[in-house]
């Protein structure tokens, strides 16, 4: 349940942190950092969008 990220699959595109900055950040190499694994309300849609935009499919999310 919630959001999980696979940092070793991440290619640093930064799409997640752009569309859902409350949920994702990037380290200095651009690799994803998960800020909040349990989005609620409007953040659920943002999480879904981040999952789809990720070119590496490094994010999974089940509400």
């Amino acid at each position: 349940m919630g959001i999980t990220v696979q940092r070793d699959a991440c290619v640093g595109a930064g799409q997640c942190a752009l569309v859902a900055p409350d949920l994702f950040d990037q380290d200095d190499d651009g690799i994803v950092l998960l800020l909040d694994p349990n989005p609620e309300g409007a953040l659920v849609d943002a999480a879904t969008r981040a999952v789809r935009l990720c070119p590496a499919r490094a994010i999974t999310f089940s509400a």
Binding site: G14, D28, D29, G30, R52, P55, R57
Partner: protein, 385 residues
Amino acid sequence: MSERVVVVGASIGGLTAAETLRQEGFDGDVILIGDERHRPYNRPPLSKQIIVGDWEPEDAHIRSEVEIGDLGIDLRTSCVAEALDAPARVLHTSQGDIPFDELIIATGTEPRRHPLVPSALTLRTVDDALAIRDGLRSARRVTVIGPGILGSEIASAARKYGADTHLVGRSGTLTFGGVGALLSSQLIELHETNGVDLDLDAEIVSADSDTAGTSILFADGRSERADLVVAMIGGDPRTGWLESSTLTIDNGIVCDGTGQAAAGVSAVGDVAAWRDPYTGRPVRVEHQSNAIEQAIAVALRLVRGEAGTRPVPLFWSELHGTRINAFGWFDPGLPLAPFDDGDAVLVSRDDAGRVHGAVGWNAPPREFRVARAAVAESASLAPLP
């Protein structure tokens, strides 16, 4: 909602469309066909991690067979789309005819072979990348023809293997995707600092190949010999199989602003020319992020009836250890300027102060994201008259 969606092209655009249909609850058939023998993989790593040997091909796969099966996607590999009867809604393939209610075309581009250097390798598929990797492992002299991102990436990889590397173009500049030649001087300096021998005003006259390599003759009388020649001189949309169809083909499949090419037929990604909502002109964008966003938009339209999208181009590269990111649109007549105090983020800013594009040059990700947000905000507004 339709009962069977067929997706032609099993790369990131096709797979994203198929996945989004399922995530949105579509419970009809989803058939995803691809002409390669591989399951869907990401192409950006081919010219990056794969040719330098950091990744094996399986590392570039987007989804496992199990995941694709769990999503209820009927993936058919080594299946070639041969013709389309759009009015009858039938796709003819090398594995038989497939009737559909909705078709999504995501067949991408075909790399152009160099007409004067037929022995030159080129890069589109993972098999192409492995052939280049094999060549790079033993080559002492490498010639790369092509001034774009892919040419630069292959030259960067060749230097990593320690080869004498010659990067050849004829326009006088190096380009970086949608940024065009605006970064040319920075790219030239980066390559030269890292030992790439540049020749950007070179006109190739002929080439001779034997088992040991290729000799290239230039218009100024020089000739050079290389163990490996790679030509990255652009690609053409893969629309040959649509010649007998009723679709409008004009440098890609011409679509409306929602990706629809005809009743029951949509197109996404490198092969698709969506009509820009502001200019009315069909525009084809060859970046992965564009394929993903168009695929999501088409799937949402089919399931929910939602309208189109205007993806903001995003692309990146790593050359000689320098990470270069680009986001947005760039005007060839508008030089890049610093976004703020530093020089790690450069932007295309118009007279009204709107930021239309941003480039990060080894930029800290958080800093680049501030500029990206400014581009996204401009993109959400109608363009100035």
